[in-house]
């Protein structure tokens, strides 16, 4: 049993982590909040006083706002659908008996470990370059006109790149979940003559429900924050400016800190809505 002394010690051991994280959360958060109510242009006069909710209104009424919201939704939504659907299929396949399973797993997981700037640049140049890219070669081979990927289907290209990056994550987690499935139940269903589709729909899919939810929530948080992939490929041009990228441009490129901070507050609220659901699941798991 823990004694009073060990409780005190425990508290001291926990303190540095708590203090640091508290500072890391509160200091920048409060600064962002303060800036968001100010007219603050570091390169053009600096702090020009309070403006109330002006920045919040201007951020959502600017012509760039709604396109950025739509872009963000399309990007996050498409990547989620692609990675979850393909992830389930791939996890089901990888769970089957086969030769060289370990190696195939490694091949499938590898993209997750590639740094985002490398991913973006390799796709941009070696695959999507309209003249020398591999896809252009492929298109020409079939007698088609090469696609100028990053300007003509810019958002689609970024969806492809980001999906490639995140498919391993979804697959790996769903595979882990499938492996924890009770084999006997499946076997019993098979004995009773349930066809593969029914076994999937009534036993595997319900079992995967929680894992799918977790994949969706965690990926949403990361996907909302996608940055390097856009920075390196299109720089936010051709309709690929997400909310994150828009805020980045407001803050660092045009140095309109007040406006960017108001955008930042919106982003924080958005991420927190997703986070609440995730925390609820994780929290339940802690009790178990």
């Amino acid at each position: 049993m823990a004694t009073q002394q060990s409780r005190t010690t425990a508290r001291y051991m926990l303190a540095p982590a708590v203090v640091l994280l508290l500072g890391w959360m509160l200091v920048p958060l409060i600064m962002t909040l303060v800036f968001s109510f100010k007219r603050y242009l570091p390169l053009r006069g600096g702090d020009l006083g309070w403006t109330g909710f002006d920045n919040y209104i201007r951020f959502v009424t600017s012509s760039a706002f709604w396109p950025a919201v739509v872009t963000t939704l399309i990007l996050v939504g498409s990547v989620l659908i692609i990675t979850v659907v393909l992830g389930i299929l791939l996890a089901l396949l990888l769970n089957q008996p086969m030769w060289g399973q370990g190696i195939v797993r490694i091949l499938v997981i590898a993209p997750f470990f590639v740094m985002p700037t490398v991913t973006a640049l390799v796709w941009k140049n070696m695959f999507m370059d309209p003249v020398n890219g591999l896809l252009a070669h492929l298109w020409r081979f079939f007698g088609a006109e090469p696609v100028i990927w990053l300007s003509d289907v810019s958002l689609g290209s970024i969806v492809l790149i980001v999906s490639w990056q995140w498919l391993p994550f979804a697959t790996l987690i769903l595979l882990t979940a499938i492996q924890s499935l009770d084999g006997e139940q499946l076997e019993a269903a098979e004995m009773d003559g349930a066809p593969p589709f029914k076994r999937f729909a009534f036993i595997i899919l319900p079992h995967l429900g929680r894992a799918v939810t977790i994949v969706i929530l965690i990926q949403t948080i990361f996907l909302l924050a996608i940055f390097a992939e856009i920075f390196v490929t299109t720089g936010g041009a051709f309709g690929t400016r997400t909310l994150t990228y828009l805020i980045f441009q407001r803050v660092l490129e045009s140095q309109n800190v007040g406006l960017g901070s108001a955008g930042g507050v919106y982003a924080i609220i958005l991420a927190n809505i997703v986070a609440i659901f995730l925390m609820r699941i994780v929290g339940k798991n802690l009790d178990a």
């Binding site: 499938v108 960017g260 930042g264 982003a267 994780v282």
Partner: protein, 276 residues
């Protein structure tokens, strides 16, 4: 399984899994292959796959760029430093929550997790400003601290999950025998916790190595790690496919190898123990 899987089905599984696996891996494979081609072969039409004269000239060229070693060194210092610093702070915290839990432990754990959800772009300017004020902009120290902080919740969570699995009876027995708190930690917990600590270290090193928001926004020339070095190939140097491939291969190879060792921990680490 009780029923033997037919050989035929196994062949179909194997073939389709290998085809899909290779397709997914292909961009990486292509990058590695291209890194051994000459610039001319790299853009040959039609593309050559294996039948080319292999050369190391791109690696020599990239390594000869006076600053490559510095980018690499920065990556090692930043990823390694933030991981070690994070462990120093996280081990006692996770230890205390796992072995001396209180009513608030669960809330503290969840709150720590919530700090991880804070979108970086929301606090970009404050951090940028604080960095300027404290002279940390474009410094390795600054990035070590920031990357340590963004990964600290994951480190604590992973360690907590591992420590939780150490049976409490062992500790009680040690206490009965009169072991002090210090002895308990040094002689009993640490040896049992080393595998968990090692995998936490591995995963966090990978995450820090690949981090590409703060490393791009808070560095210029001096402290930039490989993420920024690669981004600098964006244009017009990116047109040199073979050199880009060599630089990319060098930036990802160590992490691919480390990553293969950490697949198992990846799942519980990144889902905060919700999927095991």
């Amino acid at each position: 399984m009780a029923r033997a899987v037919s050989q035929q089905r196994k062949i179909i599984n194997t073939t389709s899994a290998w085809v899909i696996g290779l397709l997914i891996f292909f961009p990486i494979l292509w990058t590695i292959l291209t890194s051994f081609k000459t610039e001319a072969t790299a853009i040959a039409d039609p593309p050559v796959f294996l039948n080319f004269t292999w050369t190391l000239e791109n690696y020599t060229a990239v390594l000869e760029r006076s600053n490559y070693a510095r980018f690499l060194w920065n990556s090692i210092i930043i990823a390694g430093g933030s991981t070690i610093l994070g462990l120093i702070i996280a081990i006692p915290a996770a230890w205390s929550m796992a072995f001396v839990p209180s009513k608030r432990t669960k809330d503290i754990l969840l709150w720590m997790l919530s700090t991880k959800m804070l979108p970086a772009v929301g606090v970009l300017y404050p951090i940028y400003l604080l960095f300027i004020k404290m002279g940390l902009l474009d410094s390795r120290l600054g990035l070590v601290v920031v990357l340590m902080l963004i990964n600290l919740p994951i480190i604590i969570w992973m360690l907590y999950t591992y420590f939780k699995e150490i049976p409490g009876e062992i500790l009680e027995a040690a206490r009965m025998d009169g072991a002090s708190l210090k002895e308990e930690v040094v002689y009993i917990l640490t040896p049992m916790a080393i595998p968990g600590i090692a995998s936490t270290m591995l995963l966090n090193f990978i995450l820090a190595w690949n981090e590409a928001f703060w490393t791009l926004n808070l560095t210029a020339a001096k402290a930039a790690p490989l993420t920024a070095f690669i981004a600098s190939y964006s244009s017009p140097e990116g047109l040199f496919f073979a050199k880009l491939s060599a630089a990319s291969t060098m930036a990802i190879a160590p992490i691919l190898i480390l990553g293969w060792f950490s697949q198992k921990q990846l799942v519980s680490g990144l889902t905060f123990g919700a999927v095991k």
